[in-house]
Symmetry: C2
Subunit: 289 residues, 2 copies
């Protein structure tokens, strides 16, 4: 099987690694707009060769679109125009706008809308790692719009990556993604900005004072701006709804601090502790082989 | 050396483990208000025996006060009243109010105000672990108010825990702690509360959608309510200042999303990325042996 990966970054590059090492892909074609990333992808052996998009469509059996959301929205209709009976999968972190865009496309059946939920705070082909997706969740949206054999091939690809696939509607996916993933990113970006601003006279003191807790909470603030501007804007309605709830919760902490209400503060923290068993269950399931 | 630990939780219990395994303490006396925690501490071998506070002061060479801030503020003056020429160290996460409280105490010189900056999101003696403090930062405040030999003994204790000690004034400590550590906790508590509220109809969907990023950002929301209500209230002025900056940063994200300002969003994320090298330097230093 020849697989073309359009956008060889953290996700595209890590998919390339696993598809090749597993034998699923005999050869990987890379399509990459950034010449430096293309070179790294070749040097790291993530791809066998680089091609133009047109040649990649021509030469491959499966296309994986792993570019920022706005680029994917631009390329997907073009790819579908000349897809023939091949499979194209997008792996964007938002699903409603991209699926709506090609809803009526004559070749919609050749397309599978996926969101393999794994990543790190790093980006680019240099960040690609083996086994990034093992035991992680993959969401496939609007599966009934993909042809049966096309969906089956996509599932076998995600099985090869050792992912657990769940099915959802696109709008449902985007609401949950805003609440769980996108809100976390904004809370982390804002935390980084706050600490950098407050401690701007003494950045060295951040190093002295920051223990593991701070590192963990602010980790996502290292995420790639190009990728995340697209995700947040594309899902802005749902993200803004989540952000409003977040602001209200922060206000409750402020009120408890201003009024020195020990009991209220205790109850707020105890209530937030309920995330513990949920998070522990996720961690356990991610470790399961 | 006989060391009495008042409050055998995550911090007190972990200190007990390392002081004993290193041979620094020949024996550890536990003082514990919670009878279940006392029993666990004995069973886990964290302490050799349990005693009342008065007997512990009588029987030990060094006292370590590792109770919640408000309890420590209650006990420290009592301990200093009958400390003789022994050493007492408090390990509270806030330092201004407790040091002010005993500023004029006749035995102030026997006291060292410390903040060993390490921990996990778990609490109680069952959470005590070996080597919790290795290569972590310890802050000692107002060192000139501790007698030289008393300070020296405290430093040898923190050296035994393999900590890197820095010196600061108490108010300076509390400002930095609010910005870096306490704000992280509130951002994480509020994130947990938001996700729990928004997803209350479908808590199972949190498990499906939450990847490593969410787990990392929300980890501190598991922190103990009893411990954190005291820390946040005791440091509320500095925490509120930090929280106001945090709210302003969140507002910038909201504005960029509402106006669909791609460029502004990109700049905000790029600016927040600057925390990356700082956090990486901390991680590297924490790993160094």
């Amino acid at each position: 099987m020849k697989v073309a990966i359009i956008g060889i970054g953290l996700i595209g590059g890590s998919i390339a690694k696993d598809l090749r090492s597993s034998g699923f892909a005999k050869s990987i074609i890379g399509v990459e707009a950034n010449p430096i990333h293309g070179e790294v992808a070749l040097e790291k052996g993530l791809v066998n060769e680089l091609m133009s998009l047109d040649n990649a469509i021509e030469s491959s059996d499966i296309l994986i679109l792993s570019t920022p959301v706005e680029v994917s929205k631009l390329l997907l209709p073009q790819i579908l125009d000349s897809i023939g009976n091949k499979l194209v999968i997008d792996v964007c972190s938002t699903k409603k706008s991209i699926t709506s865009l090609v809803e009526k496309h004559i070749n919609r059946g050749q397309y599978v809308a996926a969101h393999p939920m794994s990543g790190t705070e790093y980006s680019g082909p240099m960040a690609a790692v083996d086994g990034l997706f093992i035991n992680k969740t993959n969401i496939i949206c609007e599966k009934e719009k993909s042809k049966d054999d096309v969906l089956k091939l996509a599932l076998s690809l995600f099985d090869t990556l050792q992912m657990k696939t769940s099915f959802m509607e696109s709008d449902e996916h985007d609401v949950h993604a805003a609440n769980v993933s996108h809100l976390s990113h904004i809370s982390s970006f804002a935390l980084a900005l706050s600490v950098l601003e407050i401690e701007k006279e003494n950045p060295e003191d951040i190093k002295i004072m920051a223990a593991g807790g701070f590192r963990s909470t602010v980790r996502l603030a290292k995420s790639d701006a190009r990728t995340w501007e697209d995700i947040l804007l594309d899902n802005s309605v749902n993200v803004l709804t989540a952000l409003n709830v977040y602001e209200k919760k922060l206000k409750k902490f402020k009120e408890a601090l201003i009024t020195q209400d020990k009991n209220k503060l205790n109850l707020l923290i105890q209530e937030s502790n309920k995330i513990g068993p949920i998070v522990d269950a996720i961690a356990k399931s991610a470790e399961e082989k």
